[in-house]
């Protein structure tokens, strides 16, 4: 089977979620990549070095600059003439593009796969991760999104992919990119951080969040997350949210501070290797999944922990 993986990239770098996607694709067969964007020469070269990559299709053009789904999906459909499966990471951009591709190809998409069980058989979470469904597709072409935390990342070096230019002007189909506000942070990105410190509503306000959670995270070199309650209350921006409707994370260590552990939050972090919970309510559901629990007042515990680190 020939697979085509859409490469998500930012500032000349291939994103980690794409590497996990390459691993998933390699379980299906030959891996080809699609790099689309403006000035993507360096990205294409980096992509060709990813272990296990056969061919890198490069589409250069201003239309592709911001991963507008209207343009990228049309391009993917053209390439799908000689590929059997399309894979994209289950990120905001991947989830924007893949369904459009699926509709244009008239196939049913298989979303957020956790593992590859066979040629057309996959597992995927249903009911907010409370059950795992094994699904088998009978489509001629597969359209798949891949949950990045469920696959090992392919090595960035060691591949000898061949770069091939795709000549397609592209058409943004009535969509124009206006601008973006990306929160700048020196901290590691949530979906690829080794350690994450997350805060919940118990922090009471935004100032507490910054003065309690962030120093601890910085000491640990950790990414900062939050529960939906903390985001809804406006303590931190939306992109901090970990959970079913936020980011799905699986760090080595996940530290939940003042988070009770609603099932929707657990859905986003329960694949973490070690979960540490700090909460004053000893009956909080978070303690049922935590490897290490500490019952007590976070306003005392966290500063003490930070100072001792």
């Amino acid at each position: 089977m020939k697979t085509l993986v859409w490469v998500e990239h930012d500032a000349g770098q291939v994103k980690d979620a794409t590497l996990a996607c390459v691993t998933a694709a390699s379980k299906l067969g030959e891996v080809h990549l699609l790099v689309a964007g403006e000035g993507v020469g360096p990205v294409a070269e980096a992509a060709a070095k990813i272990a296990g990559v056969g061919k890198v299709h490069v589409a250069e053009g201003a239309t592709y600059a911001y991963a507008l789904p209207e343009a990228v999906a049309t391009l993917v459909v053209e390439l799908m003439g000689h590929h059997d499966a399309f894979l994209a990471p289950a990120t905001a951009n991947g989830k924007n593009i893949a369904p459009r591709v699926a509709a244009l190809l008239d196939v049913m998409q298989i979303s957020e796969i956790l593992s590859v069980e066979g040629d057309a058989t996959f597992t995927r979470p249903i009911y907010a991760g409370n059950a795992i469904a094994t699904v088998k597709s009978s489509e001629a072409k597969l359209v798949i999104t891949v949950r990045g935390t469920s696959f090992e990342k392919a090595a960035r070096e060691g591949g000898t992919g061949e770069i091939e230019a795709v000549s397609s002007a592209g058409d943004a189909g009535g969509a124009t990119f206006i601008g973006q506000e990306i929160s700048k942070s020196e901290r590691p990105e949530l979906t690829s951080a080794k350690i994450i410190v997350s805060g919940g509503r118990a922090l009471q306000n935004s100032e507490n969040f910054h003065s309690i959670i962030e120093p601890l995270a910085d000491k640990l070199g950790a990414g900062v997350g939050a529960s939906r309650a903390a985001v809804d209350a406006g303590y931190v921006p939306n992109d901090y949210q970990v959970g079913q409707t936020g980011k799905i994370v699986a760090p080595e260590v996940y530290m939940a501070v003042g988070i009770s552990g609603a099932i929707q939050h657990l859905a986003g972090m329960k694949d973490s290797k070690t979960i540490i919970a700090i909460n004053k309510d000893e009956d909080a559901p978070i303690f049922q999944v935590a490897d290490i629990g500490l019952v007590g007042d976070l306003f005392k515990i966290v500063p003490e922990l930070t100072s001792k680190l």
Binding site: N96, K136, E139, A175, G293
Partner: protein
């Protein structure tokens, strides 16, 4: 998918929507923050959970709605084939996490962190 089938632009995960003339400006929630796109109308917009407050149906309207006629149609009436092309082979329970240990104070937690190599 609808947008693709109609060949129209799409704005997904919208947290803000503004219509101006024959286009709509959609602010989208993306992984690292916000992104704004301008789409020619008609466009398909899907919403993020914080876009707005839902309108709840009022009781008088619920009563009124009961008397409205309902037309029951099958997908076949519209010439649509809804046969699933993905088969669910089995549904299983995800691996369960078991509750771990509880530590009494920060020092004990520190010791555990050190043992894991997280803290120096």
């Amino acid at each position: 998918m609808l947008a693709a089938l109609m060949g129209r632009p799409q704005g997904t995960f919208a947290s803000k929507v503004e219509v101006e003339g024959d286009s709509v400006t959609v602010t989208r929630e993306v992984d690292g923050g916000l992104e704004t796109v301008k789409l020619a109308i008609p466009a398909i917009v899907t919403t993020d959970l914080r876009l707005n407050e839902p309108r709840y149906a009022s009781l008088p309207n619920i009563m009124k709605a009961k008397s409205k006629p309902l037309a029951n149609k099958t997908p076949a009436d519209y010439g649509v084939d809804t046969t699933p092309r993905i088969e669910t082979v089995k549904v299983s329970e995800p691996p369960k996490r078991v509750a771990g240990i509880k530590v009494a104070d920060v020092d004990e937690l520190m010791a555990k962190l050190k043992a894991m190599g997280v803290a120096a």
